[in-house]
Homo-oligomer: 160 residues x 2
């Protein structure tokens, strides 16, 4: 899986490219039938008559795809202590069967306050095959530091 990445490895502005992900009608329907059973997510014929004009993915599905792509690109190699979770997710364009999604993660904040851990904020963006922004989300992750700072040893010297 390659080397682990630590808090120091994520300066503000560093960007990671995602692989691509092909969205299928089967997966849209299968995800939605479990979690978001609206006709325009689960039924081609009903979807064709909807304002979308065809099947579209549930927003929860689009978010899941984004997180999976981010995981494969870099998150799975992070020396993660904890995800703080997401502060927001925005869904800007419908995701349809046959679309090929890709995206980027960009580091938007890096705090190396602690001696052994740091915290980063990141922005994930998902694009369709024409480069149109489909969704975005912000996440925060707490990571180990590569070389934890030694605790300052208490001064031992006496006077003089």
């Amino acid at each position: 899986m390659g080397t682990l990445l630590y808090a120091e490895d994520f300066p503000v502005g560093r960007t990671f490219e995602f692989d691509s992900y092909s969205v299928t009608a089967e997966e849209i329907k299968s995800f939605a039938s479990e979690w978001d059973p609206m006709p325009f997510h689960t039924d081609e014929r009903a979807a064709a008559k909807s304002a979308f004009g065809g099947l579209v993915a549930s927003g929860a599905h689009t978010l899941a795809i984004c997180i999976r792509l981010a995981s494969d690109a870099v998150v799975s190699r992070m020396a993660v202590i904890a995800g703080r979770g997401m502060s927001e997710a925005r869904f800007l364009q419908p995701v349809r069967p046959g679309m090929t999604l890709t995206g980027t993660m960009t580091i938007t904040d890096q705090q190396l306050d602690g001696p052994a851990k740091g915290e980063i904020e990141l922005r994930n963006e998902l694009y369709d095959q024409d480069g149109q922004l489909v969704m975005s989300m912000v996440g925060e992750i707490i990571l180990r530091r590569r070389e934890p700072e030694r605790e300052e040893t208490a001064p031992t010297g006496g006077e003089i």
Copy 2:
């Protein structure tokens, strides 16, 4: 399935209560292994050593649960033309095995501009069994009107 609900049925402030949903370790691990394979989502032992102190659900999973509860409570009975999707989702507390989630949908905007359709904005909130807010999201849905207004007939009168 009961009667359909139309745009007129969603005045600002109307609230719908969700059923409850019991979160299991199996489901957390199964969802995360497909979409968000972080150790604190997929592996009890690794999770116990993480800052969470135990398994927590992926945010995408929590969102999916929220959408499913909203669907069962009311969205599946709406005369939906299209979901406009979500404008934001916020994840405020970790979701753990054994938690029982419930929530509410509150209508935050209602536009009945068109003769045949209207648009509503809603806020879904998910709570744990102690009433603590776990996540929130905002959604927008376009609905049919119950009684479409007749097109104004063109005035036919001439001069007197």
